[in-house]
């Protein structure tokens, strides 16, 4: 059979390819800025080279090392709870047999996922305020405790960031587990029923093992986010009071580059993050392929 010509394929990809080259690959060349004392008026070709100085400075400056730690801690906690909470929620939701109730709950818990951190940040700053915010008013009247500095104390800030992230995303995270639950063969439960297994035993021996492959995929793939602590969220929630515990790589890059004009070191931090993330993503996809036969395409 004659080969079908494939030039239309190349033509179809061409526009996307051009966009990727201009907006993704050309900026990658710009990482040379991290080896320069970059001055915008001199440009990339005119700025003096400084070798590894920016990276040395990065690991010598106390604040930048702290920022890397903060990122790691916040992102790590988010990964754990963003896996655990949707998993448990899906199991509990699976016990609700009335379809309309289950669907209503799902629609409601999806809502925060679709709102931006600008909107949610505005709402959270308002309701978490120590000066008569809704949450502190509630805690005061119910438990009689002093206002909690959710957004003005470093440790509380980390807590708030992780909890609010989980609050925003857990509903959306249940979708893949609900889909996996729907794929469980009902005859397994019927057989267990005949053998007299309680619902608890059925959950332990049928439901949870059926969900584990999906949990492995979600868990391993999220490894790539170990240095992604959520720029949008932190940027819209933080303030100078919590920089020490709440500042992360992405917000640090923004402030160092845009507000302080130290482009060399900002690019170096960004490059550090990109390289570490790349290694982790590659490892996590290999793992997901090995453990659960997952491929993106």
């Amino acid at each position: 059979m004659k080969r079908i010509k494939d030039w239309p394929f190349h033509l179809m990809i061409l526009p996307s390819l051009l966009f990727l080259i201009v907006f993704n690959y050309v900026p990658m060349l710009g990482i040379v800025i991290s080896f320069q004392d970059f001055k915008p008026w001199l440009g990339i070709t005119g700025s003096p080279w400084v070798g590894w100085d920016n990276f040395k400075l990065l690991f010598e400056r106390q604040d930048s090392v702290q920022v890397i730690w903060n990122t790691f801690i916040i992102a790590g906690l988010k990964i754990v709870f963003n896996l655990l909470v949707p998993f448990i929620f899906a199991l509990l939701l699976n016990e609700i047999r009335k379809a309309y109730l289950s669907r209503t709950i799902q629609t409601l818990v999806y809502l925060p996922h679709f709102l931006s951190w600008v909107i949610l940040g505005g709402i959270l700053v308002d309701i978490l305020s120590t000066d008569g915010g809704l949450v502190n008013r509630f805690l005061m009247s119910m438990l009689g405790i002093d206002p909690v500095p959710f957004l003005s104390n470093g440790n509380w800030f980390r807590f708030t960031v992780v909890v609010s992230e989980v609050w925003k995303e857990f509903g959306y995270g249940t979708i893949v587990f609900i889909a996996a639950l729907a794929n469980i063969n009902p005859s397994l439960y019927e057989a267990a029923e005949v053998d007299g297994a309680s619902r608890w035993k059925q959950t332990i021996y049928i439901t949870i093992p059926a969900l584990l492959p999906m949990a492995v995929v979600v868990g391993t793939l999220s490894l790539g986010n170990v240095l992604n602590a959520g720029f949008d969220q932190i940027f819209n929630l933080y303030n100078a009071l919590v920089y020490e515990k709440g500042d992360i790589i992405d917000t640090f890059v923004y402030r160092t580059a845009i507000l302080e004009g130290k482009f060399g070191i900002a690019t170096a931090v960004g490059l550090f993050k990109s390289v570490v993330s790349m290694v982790l993503i590659v490892i996590s996809y290999r793992l997901a392929y090995k453990l659960a036969n997952y491929r993106i395409f």
């Binding site: 494939d6 990809i13 800025i33 709102l115």
Partner: protein, 292 residues
């Protein structure tokens, strides 16, 4: 029959109540903002509003909807959402079709696939990107909101996986009848992919409507801001300069209620559309994750 046992019934009632409470917690903050936005100045500034408006008034909305900067930012947001989504969907269709072919039918397919995927795992970072945008003269231009994100690799992969599921016989029949690849894509693949395109469209619309950082970074004139960026300056940076309060209004209007009305109006479009597209995005998400 576990359904009939007493412990399971007790569990079921508790479980239902707890899950309903959790679900309510997900919408309560938005509800609170709605209540504040309809409250009078004294109640809002005195933190007296919880979940119901105190001294109901619509004055905050009148002020917000008469603010030309706010209305202008809605127009910019609508424009970027429509144009951005159209460009993204067009490019995604064009790229996903050839990438969904086997490398036997399309030599070079794997090379292209890697060029696409590599952009997902590595990027140059903020500063080099800014330099490129500047060199392209895109700073302060509307197109900076649309062009840099025009190719969405993740959405392209979702669509690619969907195209893979289209029966091969359809394509073969079209090719034998003399249709070219462009014709096959438009007349065969796209019509059967409408649910997938609806999913992609929803993701792209939400992405564009909620994007604020590009506007903040690349646009200097506030009248060019899309809604999300405008809201960021008002809600987070507490910048009320675009709102001119005259002394008479100061007595009736509080910044709190005006801000609340803007938060609510900004969230409204997305809140209206997502429940209707629920079944599509549930499908779309699963499409990209479960493999045999």
């Amino acid at each position: 029959m576990y359904h009939k046992t007493l412990p399971y019934r007790v569990f079921n009632v508790c479980n239902t109540i707890i899950l309903l409470l959790v679900a309510i917690c997900c919408v309560l903050p938005v509800w609170h903002v709605l209540a504040v936005s309809f409250s009078a100045k004294a109640a809002a500034d005195g933190n007296l509003v919880s979940l119901w408006p105190v001294n109901f008034t619509t004055i905050a909305y009148e002020k917000t909807l008469n603010n030309p900067v706010f209305l202008g930012s809605i127009w910019v947001a609508v424009k970027r959402t429509v144009i951005g989504t159209l460009i993204t969907l067009t490019l995604a269709c064009l790229a996903a079709y050839p990438l969904s072919k086997e490398s036997r039918a399309f030599r070079g397919r794997n090379v292209y696939a890697w060029i696409f995927v590599f952009t997902m795992i590595f990027n140059g970072g903020l500063v080099p990107f800014y330099v490129v945008i500047q060199k392209l003269q895109l700073v302060n231009s509307f197109w900076v909101l649309v062009l840099p994100g025009a190719v969405n690799v993740w959405l392209t992969i979702l669509l690619l996986n969907f195209f893979r599921g289209v029966p091969k016989e359809l394509e073969e029949a079209a090719l034998i009848d003399g249709a070219g690849h462009f014709r096959t894509m438009f007349s065969i693949y796209l019509p059967v992919s409408l649910p997938a395109l609806a999913t992609l469209g929803l993701f792209s619309i939400v992405f564009h409507w909620n994007s604020w950082f590009d506007g903040l970074l690349y646009l200097n004139d506030k009248t060019d801001y899309p809604l999300a960026t405008f809201l960021q300056t008002v809600i987070v940076q507490r910048d009320m300069s675009s709102m001119s309060f005259n002394p008479k209004e100061m007595e009736l209007l509080s910044q709190t209620t005006v801000r609340a009305s803007q938060i609510f109006l900004g969230a409204l479009p997305v809140m209206i559309i997502y429940p209707f597209l629920q079944k599509y995005f549930v499908k779309g998400l699963v499409l990209g994750s479960v493999k045999e």
